[in-house]
């Protein structure tokens, strides 16, 4: 995407205006807001719904909302959902069929127009996650047309990360905290003695056009420097790291490691890690009928490799019946065989799977342990 125009600075009123402009362009604006004791992603109708003054305290298996005296709006790391919820929704109808008076079935593909989303507050790691989903769902010969429709219409406002959580490791995965390509607008939140403001850059023509409608001033050197420094500092404050080795090889070398038993002992097979993961894309299909049997629908819904039914075969039984086989499938695919299948890692280092695992299984800790076990096995006796 083109690097559009000169950076500008907007304040909170400018952010209010951004939401108003996006709404005025007929977009459904999705962004962070406080609900149910968490910072969730939901439809926004105004800037006052942004989580100003709220941060989060994260640990493995633990998430707590914490007030922030500085009033920051984006000083929180990944929450319980990701943009996947909107681009690749939990449930979606694929087609409907009607039996006519002549007994013939007439099928019609789902044709409701895709919503025109504007995503406000997309983290650099999550922007890379959307890119991963793009490759998975539209990169091959069987592209998901409905995903593509939503994706192509979506307007992305990225917000650089200035406040990583204790479970973040985007630096290890090369996905943050500075924003990469793929945004329409990118913001960096700056809070200092000169006030609460946002450095804004446009990445596309539509981004430039939207930016032009906002109350703004040209970016001053102090704001640019402050923004750059805050992102650089964030890179030094990652809560987690991945072992500095080729993870794809590590997964291949450790398929029979003892460590899998250790992780599995703590695994509830609840599937939470897969459903909070911004790139886990698996679904199952269910056909439903109505009482008359003359109307049928096919629905697709999120599925998880932790579900026994996921590998259930006709004739009975699941291929991956043991929790060990399911946990290993998830992790080796996520950071190993994903490369073979889709040309990149499936992990962007957002840390959601660590936070939202009720028992706190930590993907980075498991990778370090597997790496240590491999190293120990390679030592001469």
């Amino acid at each position: 995407m083109a690097d559009g125009g000169a950076p500008a600075v907007i304040d909170k009123a400018g952010l209010d205006a951004l939401i108003a402009v996006l709404l005025g362009r007929g977009r459904t604006v999705i962004g962070p807001t406080v609900r149910d004791g968490a910072i969730v992603l939901a439809e926004l109708s105004g800037g006052d719904e942004l989580p100003y003054g709220w941060g989060v305290e994260l640990e493995a298996g633990r998430y707590r909302l914490r007030g922030r005296a500085d009033g920051a709006g984006f000083a929180h790391s990944a929450g319980p959902q990701s943009w996947k919820t909107f681009l690749h929704p939990p449930r979606e109808r694929q087609w409907t069929a009607e039996r006519g008076a002549d007994g013939e079935l007439a099928f019609s593909e789902e044709r409701t127009p895709p919503p025109a989303f504007a995503f406000l507050g997309v983290r650099p790691c999550d922007l890379r996650a959307i890119e991963v989903l793009d490759r998975v769902l539209t990169g091959g010969p069987h592209a998901d047309a409905r995903y593509r429709g939503r994706r192509q219409r979506a307007f992305v406002v990225a917000v650089e990360c200035t406040e990583p959580g204790a479970t973040c490791f985007c630096v290890s995965m090369g996905t943050g905290p500075a924003v990469g390509p793929g945004y329409d607008l990118a913001l960096t939140e700056v809070l200092d003695h000169e006030g609460h403001r946002f450095l804004v850059r446009a990445g596309t023509e539509e981004g430039e056009a939207v930016l032009a409608e906002l109350p703004q001033r040209p970016a001053d050197p102090a704001t640019r420097t402050a923004a750059r420094e805050r992102v650089a500092e964030a890179a030094d404050r990652m809560g987690r790291t991945m072992p500095p080795v080729d993870l794809r090889t590590l997964m291949r070398d450790t398929l029979e490691a003892e460590r899998w038993n250790d992780a599995t002992a703590r695994c509830l097979t609840c599937g939470n890690c897969t459903m909070v993961c911004p790139t886990c894309f698996c679904t199952s299909t269910e056909d439903i009928t109505d009482l008359t049997g003359d109307h049928a629908e096919r629905w697709r819904r999120w599925e998880s490799c932790f579900d026994l039914d996921f590998t259930h075969l006709a004739g009975g039984g699941s291929v991956r019946s043991s929790p060990r086989s399911r946990y290993r499938q998830w992790l080796t695919h996520k950071i190993g065989t994903w490369h073979d299948q889709f040309g990149s890692s499936g992990c962007v280092g957002c840390g959601r799977c660590i936070v939202w695992c009720p028992t706190g299984i930590d993907i980075t800790e498991e990778a370090h342990a597997l790496n240590a076990e491999r190293a120990a096995a390679g030592q001469p006796r």
């Binding site: 004791g37 998430y63 319980p80 449930r91 459903m275 939202w356």
Partner: protein, 262 residues
């Protein structure tokens, strides 16, 4: 599937020891009730009509658990006159809350509760229908979910497998977009070990799951119980958490007995 010659399949609804809530769910189907009545002949349903249609029945919905000798005999008859038998709810599927008697002395209960205990003839245990006769499908919940009931009837009519997943409540919480109450609030929640079906109702209102739908198909109690303790439950709380509507479900029964020994 069971229709012959275009006649509407006959539906029967039976009651054993229960509060009747699950069979009343059929009457609570409001929007779908007329459609159901058009597609099936509601042949035997004493909550709705005292008229009983002739046997056999194509689909029997059985509510309640077996707690008397007479009921143990009656369920045999019901099985013999039913082409398909589906249990509805925690009582019929797992023995219900009345299965708490399985942990106590029923004679003592009877003496304490009733003025004339000699009038009460009851078994020492409350058992699910499947302990007595073969069951084609078990629908979970206290009470059952209306949507699942309609799905079972609809699937029966279409001759297809009903869409009744047996994974945990966590799957439905995530699909619904509810932040995990364990992780975000430290609220004890049975969701990770409980069968889906309710649509993850309680967590959506900030409450932990009470386990109304009984055990899910993939449980790791040794990893799960410490979470309940961390979040404030003592041994008695943990035992009680599993000794509710599905106390006699084998997985919940085993873990509550194990915890009670601590």
């Amino acid at each position: 599937m069971s229709t012959d010659g275009g006649r509407r399949p006959k539906l029967a609804v039976w009651k054993f020891a229960s509060c009747d809530g699950c069979q009343l769910t059929l009457l609570d189907c409001e929007d779908e009730l007329l459609g159901i009545a058009e597609e099936v002949e509601i042949s035997y349903f004493l909550e709705a009509s005292s008229a009983a249609g002739p046997v056999p029945y194509d689909l029997s919905l059985v509510d309640g658990s077996i707690t008397t000798r007479q009921d143990a005999e009656r369920v045999q008859h019901i099985r013999s006159v039913s082409r398909r038998l589906v249990t509805i709810g925690a009582c019929a599927t797992a023995g219900g809350v009345q299965a708490l008697r399985n942990y106590a002395d029923v004679a003592e209960f009877r003496a304490v509760v009733y003025a004339k205990p000699e009038y009460i003839a009851t078994l020492a245990t409350s058992t699910p229908i499947s302990a007595h006769v073969p069951v084609d499908l078990e629908l979970r919940g206290c009470p059952i979910d209306r949507g699942q009931l309609v799905e079972v009837i609809t699937a029966f009519l279409a001759g297809r497998k009903p869409d009744v997943p047996d994974h945990s409540v966590c799957f439905q919480c995530k699909q619904r977009g509810t932040p995990c109450v364990i992780v975000a609030h430290g609220t004890p929640c049975l969701g990770p070990v409980t069968h889906a079906g309710c649509g993850a109702l309680c967590p959506a209102y900030g409450r932990g799951c009470y386990g109304c739908f009984g055990p899910s198909n993939s449980i790791n109690f040794p990893a799960f119980i410490p979470l309940l303790r961390r979040d404030g439950m003592d041994t008695l709380d943990v035992v009680r958490a599993f000794r509710t509507f599905n106390t006699a479900a084998p997985e919940f029964d085993a873990v509550s007995r194990e915890e009670a020994r601590r």
